[in-house]
Symmetry: C2
Subunit: 400 residues, 2 copies
Amino acid sequence: MLVVKKFGGTSVANKERIYNVANRCIEEYKKGNDVVVVLSAMGKYTDELIEKAQDINENPPKREMDMLLTIGEQMSVSLMAMAMAKLGVPAVSLNGFQVAMHTTSVYGNARLKRIDCERIKNELEQRKIVIVTGFQGINKYDDYTTLGRGGSDTTAVALAAALHADKCEIYTDVDGVYTADPRKVKSARKINEITYDEMLELATLGAGVLHNRSVELAKKYGVELVVRSSLNTNEGTVVKEGKKMEKMIVSGVASDSDAARVAVVGLKDEPGVAFKLFNALAKNNINVDMILQSVGRHGTKDISFTCSSLDADDAARIINDSMEFESIDVNKEVSKVSIVGAGMQSNAGVAAKMFEALYDANINIRQISTSEIRVTVLIDAKNTERAMNAIHDKFDLGEN
Amino acid sequence: MLVVKKFGGTSVANKERIYNVANRCIEEYKKGNDVVVVLSAMGKYTDELIEKAQDINENPPKREMDMLLTIGEQMSVSLMAMAMAKLGVPAVSLNGFQVAMHTTSVYGNARLKRIDCERIKNELEQRKIVIVTGFQGINKYDDYTTLGRGGSDTTAVALAAALHADKCEIYTDVDGVYTADPRKVKSARKINEITYDEMLELATLGAGVLHNRSVELAKKYGVELVVRSSLNTNEGTVVKEGKKMEKMIVSGVASDSDAARVAVVGLKDEPGVAFKLFNALAKNNINVDMILQSVGRHGTKDISFTCSSLDADDAARIINDSMEFESIDVNKEVSKVSIVGAGMQSNAGVAAKMFEALYDANINIRQISTSEIRVTVLIDAKNTERAMNAIHDKFDLGEN
């Protein structure tokens, strides 16, 4: 069996943790399995490197930024190989050039295009544990690129797909995927199995366990993912194609308090207004969500939407520069609360049940958006935890 | 004109120094010249990385050690490119894969075999300053290697040779090559010109300014070297083929207090004893120097030699295990003092003059060795500075 194991920065933050990871990988190896390990940079090292760069140039060229950041993973993988050697197991570390990990050209946010597996296969054939730098790749100019946030998850899934691995385990500091954030909802329960689509909705909603690009990739290539803790041996959550899960209507509740709501009042009521507005935002790389359009007074219309609170002020400025309207309002004190579940598609009344939970808790809904397997409401940020608990209880998610 | 400039770790130890180097390179660039910059790791960063490795595994695999150490130079070059960008000059950093720097396979002490210049030439044609990682290369397995002590000097000279550069400037924290170490000999004077061979003898003697492999390489390819300070604009020392320098008999005095003397008394007086002894040392990678063999009492012979004081105890142990003899003595309180000069070859009495200086200073000579352009004496370590000054004065080296 070929297993790809990915460990994040906290899992390799110091000597003790590096040895913990080394031992876990060796345990797998000693079962006779082939083991490929993907690592992130140690602890907060990437942040330290960013600081170093900022100190030299507050707006460094992105190509050079990637040249600098890739050293973080190279440090992790070489130290890990040394730890495994100390434990008597042959291991070899490989960076983006050595694998090689071919990506698109965009520095800081590249996409993986193609992975050469020859070197890895050769090393595995010699019964070595292969330790690969996550997050990084090389583009057609032979320059280092990085894959953006959550990049190491993507590296692991892509490697698992390219190597036709039997399993891809994503190790993190929680036990798996939960029905809700356990820090916010006490009765939250670990989910044993979840579909790619559900996981995608949760990832997009900022549940934080897996990056959505890695889930998309896993879905595309049918890579079975396991999300589990690097600190204990609990079973974790399996992410795979949905079949047996129909009976479960709602699998989890997620919240995103990084949201802001922008409301534009008194736009002209004529064709092309929405296009003009959202095109201006898209050109500036601002992602929007939960768009709502309503008829205003005197032949005008109002448009509101949500975006990341980091982008909200930029969004308002761009709209100011490109549109005519009466007034604009930015509210960063909002949050999105969502229920996700593959079973929703064939079950009427799920949304109504969620709204009922919020009504019972006397929480006002400002905006609503839905997908086939998700219902999201926008509420005041201060009510987030109360809303999550109310919904969690309403759907009995704490019970197996 | 194409100029290769090499800066050591102290020259890029912090933000201020990085900008100092960036400005010096930009000055050259703005004259219309092509500039290739070779950098070492910042300050003591390589030592920090070695410590990190030792903490994980006190005897790390050399391949992984090189994988770890190469990140030091990658950090320097990317930060330098960021500094130049901030100063408005296009620059690009390149590592051992990107150049590419092909070396032999030996990790930790590889030799450069071949440098691909295409990428560098392309970048220079686009009028960019090219910043290259010193010290590192890749072997036939596409693994990182490092070039050993003084490796960045070697990288710079090799690049200058491969690119047919007009000049190779080695920047350091002293003004150039001196007739003696200015910290030990007050009247020491900077040498304006020196031959490759003289520089080689000085480098081998631990004068510390240039590594001897880089001087050998410069001699082989006729690369004109300039050794100068990164902290001021003084002229420095030019190292080139010797022609006009015949009149100068002795160009400098050097000392090496890292020496130890090992004396083996009462070896059997039969053929093959010296071979057996030095073969045992060579097998254990112990370099020896200043070998002296004399006839002992009762049909025995004595052999003494010098080696690095770090190796002395190992040497004694190895000899103990492989030879029969009466007694062995290790003395670490010795130092080597040498005079170097291309003019010696055709001048009788140079050695005698050196011995006279030591006699006048009442300093006992324990052992002597000579090459065509060098005379070395072994003396008690406590007399080192007094001996250097006496010799320096005797040859009037302080005068132009």
